[in-house]
């Protein structure tokens, strides 16, 4: 299409753009390969950095491996039979797949928000307090109250729920439930928040609220978000990555990806062309 672009037939083994950052990254992925049942490879040689206090958006067609990679970042794939990973993923320089890492503690440091809001069938208070109780973050009820309040404030849900903390979390609207899930994630004081299509089940108003929240949260956390909405990726992310058939095709500053991407496959995808 465009002779200025990296052509389709060029090897996809090397990611174009700026997959690695200057300075110290929060998370690094080096030569990451993911297999389901040996014979099926979902991710091929991914090398990428997640910068501290930035949002990295992961976009690409269904089945391209973006969610698989996201789930590798807090070892959620450990729960899938037959899933194996090679390469190295480090959080603050520490290999998260080393034997002395406890996945439960890792998932407290690298929290996750899913596509569909999934509050526990408990009160709003207990939804948020569950993690801190489990990890012993609060030593008494007063401290727990503070953690719940602080988390709900950060998730932008305090004003709406402070008078009904004992009501069921499932009674909230979809957008509020998703913010409750974000508050639940924040409550265990993570460093990184992973979001897998966090607004795909929400209406535009609730989506805008979550996006605004993400913008505020990035000053305290490192965020990686998988999204099918390219406009959302353009709005919220600092850097954007494009995946295709398990390969990381391009990572660049978001303003470059959406105005002048380097790879033809990226351009085809974000402009809605046949690829």
């Amino acid at each position: 299409m465009n002779n200025n672009k990296v052509e389709l037939d060029q090897q996809l083994s090397e990611t174009v753009g700026k997959p690695l950052i200057n300075g110290t990254p929060k998370i690094t992925c080096r030569d990451v390969n993911v297999f389901y049942n040996q014979d099926s490879q979902a991710i091929f040689d991914v090398n990428v950095d997640l910068a501290k206090n930035q949002i990295l958006a992961m976009i690409g067609p269904s089945g391209c491996g973006k969610s698989t990679l996201l789930r590798c970042l807090n070892r959620m794939n450990d729960t899938i039979d037959g899933c194996s990973i090679t390469g190295k993923i480090s959080l603050d320089g520490e290999d998260i797949y080393s034997n002395d890492i406890d996945p439960v503690l890792l998932r407290a440091k690298v929290g996750m928000v899913f596509q569909k809001p999934n509050p526990f069938p408990k009160s709003i208070y207990d939804n948020v307090a569950y993690g801190p109780r489990l990890h012993g973050i609060a030593t008494n009820n007063s401290e727990l109250d503070d953690v719940v309040e602080e988390s709900l404030i950060k998730a932008g849900l305090w004003k709406e729920t402070k008078d009904r903390l004992n009501k069921p979390g499932t009674g909230l609207s979809g957008g509020q439930q998703q913010r409750l899930c974000i508050a639940r994630t924040i409550a265990v004081r993570p460093d990184v928040i992973l979001m897998d299509e966090p607004t795909s089940a929400l209406d535009p108003i609730a989506t805008a609220t979550i996006e605004e929240l993400m913008h505020e949260l990035k000053s305290s956390y490192t965020i990686a978000v998988v999204t099918h909405s390219m406009q959302q990726a353009a709005r919220i992310s600092d850097r954007c990555s494009y995946f295709h058939l398990g390969r990381l095709v391009e990572v660049n500053d978001t303003n470059i990806v959406f105005t002048n991407p380097e790879h033809e496959l990226t351009e085809n995808y974000i402009t809605g062309r046949f690829g």
Binding site: M1, N2, N4, M230, T259, N260, P261, T271, G272, R273
Partner: protein, 233 residues
């Protein structure tokens, strides 16, 4: 060649194609305006000067319609990458085309006023050369836009220096003449304004060429000294 089609949505392809055709039609009208205006000035065919004004109504209406089309596409499609650069360029190109139409109208107006003035004839040789280059720049710029040929657009863009040089020579000549013959100040000033308008047509054609480079390569070369890309591809 760069292809603006191939979207999954055929309707989107059609909308972009329609927009491009409208820009080229508008360009055709402006070419006609400039050609008529310069013929009226240089050959004294003032009967066609009126047509320049009539065409200007059409050109203005097309500018409004194309801008509206761009707004619709932005609202409906949220274009990105090449599509975004393309829409952005269309908005800029039609502004330059409309201004070229205005310059042509000015030339046509002065052509009518100068038609009976034999004193100004001596400068027409310089004007003729400037007009020739400006016409070629306009035609070639539109051709480059139709084919999204950025390499050719760069060449065309560089032709503007020739017009500028010619304009400077003519200005010096006219200044000298003004000092020597104060009786003909009005005529000399009119010739100066015509020369200025022709020079502006060259500038606008150059702008169009720069936008074409932006669409194809995503590089903004406006106000770059030598008009060349650093890594010419």
């Amino acid at each position: 060649m760069l292809n603006i089609g191939q979207h999954i949505s055929q309707e989107y392809n059609d909308e972009l194609e329609d927009l491009r055709n409208q820009v080229l039609s508008m360009g055709g009208l402006v070419e006609q305006q400039f050609s008529d205006a310069s013929n009226a000035l240089l050959n004294g065919t003032i009967n066609i000067a009126q047509r320049v004004t009539e065409l200007d109504y059409q050109v203005n209406a097309m500018e409004v319609a194309i801008d509206e089309g761009c707004a619709q596409i932005i609202a409906k499609r949220q274009p990105t990458a090449i599509d975004l650069r393309n829409i952005f360029t269309v908005i800029k190109v039609v502004t330059d085309l409309e201004r070229m139409g205005d310059e042509s109208e000015k030339i046509a107006k002065f052509a009518s006023e100068l038609s009976a003035d034999t004193n100004s004839m001596g400068f027409y040789k310089n004007l003729k050369h400037m007009t020739f280059i400006a016409k070629k720049m306009l035609t070639d710029a539109l051709d480059c836009y139709a084919r999204l040929d950025a390499k050719k657009a760069l060449e065309v863009s560089n032709m503007d220096a020739e017009i500028d040089a010619e304009f400077e020579i003519l200005n010096r000549l006219l200044s000298t003449y003004l000092l020597e013959d104060t009786k003909n100040i009005e005529s000399i000033l009119k010739v100066t304004w015509c020369a200025r308008s022709i020079e502006r047509v060259g500038d606008h054609a150059k702008n169009i060429c720069e936008y074409i480079v932006y669409v194809v390569y995503g590089k903004d070369i406006r106000h770059v000294i030598d008009g060349k890309l650093q890594d010419d591809k």
